[in-house]
Amino acid sequence: MELRSLKDIDKLLESRKEKIKKEREAGTKVVGYLCCQVPLELIHAHGMMAVRLGTASESYMAAGKEYIHQYTCPYIKCVAGEMLTKGTFLRENVDVISGSVICLTVHRALEVLKAYTKKPTYYFSIPHNPPDSNDERFFVSEIEWFSARLGEISGTRLDPQRLRESVALYNSIRAILKELYRLQAMDGSAIRWIDVFKLIQSGFLLGPEEYLELLEDVLSEVKQVSETEDHSSNRKFRIMLSGSPVMPMDNLIIDTIEETGGRIVADILCTGLRTFDDLLVEDATLKGLALTYLYSSPCASCQDLNLKSDRRLNKMLKLIREIPVDGMIYYCLRFCDPYSFKANEIKEALWREAGLPVLPIHWEYGGSYGSLQTRVEGFLESLQERRAKL
């Protein structure tokens, strides 16, 4: 069933674009950002609007290739294509480009965007090694530097009270997302992971105030429906989706899983769980903000030389304990090295540590649906056999 509160998301997103244009005319700056460790609270506290860059599209990918080389992941090619194609909403409305950088390709993309668009571009570095006190000091300075640059652009000085309010606002958003995420994973839930995923991605464009309203509405409806209707007949295979970013409009992998007998109930994606998980800020200062983001769910580009203490792997294992799944599909976009190079390792480790089967899929936009469907179906059949044996 489709929830009433989810029906109008697309209209809301369209009207948001119009609002952004009007607010820009009134002097508010728009900050386009990559990836999920940019403190959105800070942008909000400086009185600016944050929009996440990137929409999956074959035409953006083709355009992006002209600027940033074919040996680049489709995600970044799309970001480049959208930002460098005249007339796109983001190209015309983003005033400042920003980023939290740990992935080399994101770094290259930000430099290329800065060079071609001539827009102010401010990005900071995330430590690659497991954080220690040296990393903490460094990262706090990076966030202070980033805040100062935002202040220069917006013409504001960071007001501690404003920052507290922004932190509280985003904490509320993330708390509801966390609750919705918990609910979607339950048998008989009125809301599906795919709905929550769409909601998460709506937050890439919506202003936090209206986003919070939307989330509150959805949560309230989900709770009501869950209490009144029984959905316990769900016997689909519970799948965790992980790997490269699944961008807005990149629905093929999700649809294929859902249509072939799987039900996604968990993810560790840069465009999914990682955008709110572990991001409840308790200390509403720049230092508190920096440390929260530093210790949040890590990107695959993080380099832990000890496999046993690898934060990302341990995060997966923890999530599997919290949200039981039958298998994981590990989605690798072409030339997305951080995720692709770790696919075999993750497959081995999850099998060893949790007995969880993993299907790595290497993919590029525009690939054949048939081959994707065959692989997913094969995987689900193997899960079926496994279930029968158990």
């Binding site: 002209e66 040996y71 680049t72 390709t105 900071f124 040296n134 072409r334 030339f335």
Partner: protein, 460 residues
Amino acid sequence: MNNTELPPYLDELRERLLKTGPLKLMDGSEVSPVEIFETNLKSLIGYTHYGDPPFDYTLANAFKHRYLQMTIMERAKKMKEKGMPVLFSFWAFPDLIIGSGATLIGPVPCGNEISLADNRSLKEEGHRFTSFESCPMEPAIALYLRDGKLPVDLTVYMTGMADVPCILNLLRRYPAISLFCVCIPYNGKGKPWALEYLADQLHTFVQKIGEIRGSKVTDEELRNGIRMMNQMRRSYVEYIDIFNSAETPPIAGLENSLVKSVGSVEAGDPVAIRCANEQLNEELRERVKKGIIPPTLKERPLRIYVCGLIIVSPPVHSFIESQGGILLGPECFDADFLSGDVDEKGDPYEAVARWWLEQRSWSSPCRDLEERTEWLIKTLRRYNPDGVIWTSIWGCQMEPPYARYLADKVEEKLGMPTMLIDQDDIPDVEIGEDGRFRMKGDHRTRIEGFMEILHARREK
């Protein structure tokens, strides 16, 4: 082999080499010209078509660089036997490694060993181990390290050079292998906290080498390492100036590439490399003075500067030279030599950190693309080429994302034709059997077309 059996050009090379001085190594020992010749000869005879170009047998001192390239593993083993730590380093921090009384092996000699052994299965296993989208050689090198084929005490990698430090990522499954990863902060130029952050990591890195050698490394030792590396880098600057001082370069493209790669990615012994460079520079000056042209070059060849990645195989050099051109650079090596000295006087950790954050431009995570463009334009003015090409290797994402922008800027600011070439696979390295040296038809066609444009422009 008895000398009488040698073809005349090798006899001539022997004669020329014997007239030159010995190579002085970092440990104080010397290698005689006879030994240099004999070592080269072994490889040349093992080379199926050793009578063919592209080698310039008349340039005696370049065979010292070839000697250094061929013997790096052997020399590293000997140094280890003497108690010197040996590191595998992916271009990372040679000044500190040398200053710590250690030596290093870079990826190119490992790649050479794998290719020479025709170890295709290792390459295939490497790809299965990581992904078919990875650089063709790096995973194989990781497996080579895993199998204990190198006498390595510590493997060091720095971020910002490759997306996921592939080698470390693969080797972390084997706890017995000692690894170290230095995080070079993106956009770190001009940020005191980034300098402090990197310097702090370098401290830990040097401490670790000290633990391996069994004694603390002093700042003075590190400054000495920096001095050795600076002297080596300066000998390259001198080399580049001699190269550019003649209308027809005194050294051919293949030898130029060899000479520079030895100092850039294989700089395990900066004293020996500097010694080889000084002797080579003398020989080149003499060539310029007398107007001697390398046998493979035509007079006033089309000068084509190479940006992007380093791998240009011998057939490409031969082909370009047969068409009346020469490949210059490459930029990735020049960046090591033309980025200035590392400060020799202050805190050595800060000095090295500053060089990486603020001076070196090629593929730098710290300097912005505009600065990189300016550096390239300045370097191109130094070389005054007729055209510029960018090469890229399958799966390598260090440089290709910048190629389009840089090429556009070069055309705009210097009015030079540019061309971007993608290599679908890595050509085998330049020592080995000729049969595997390949140049794909599409590359040949594109290069030919590009050179026609350059010829036509020059005629105008």
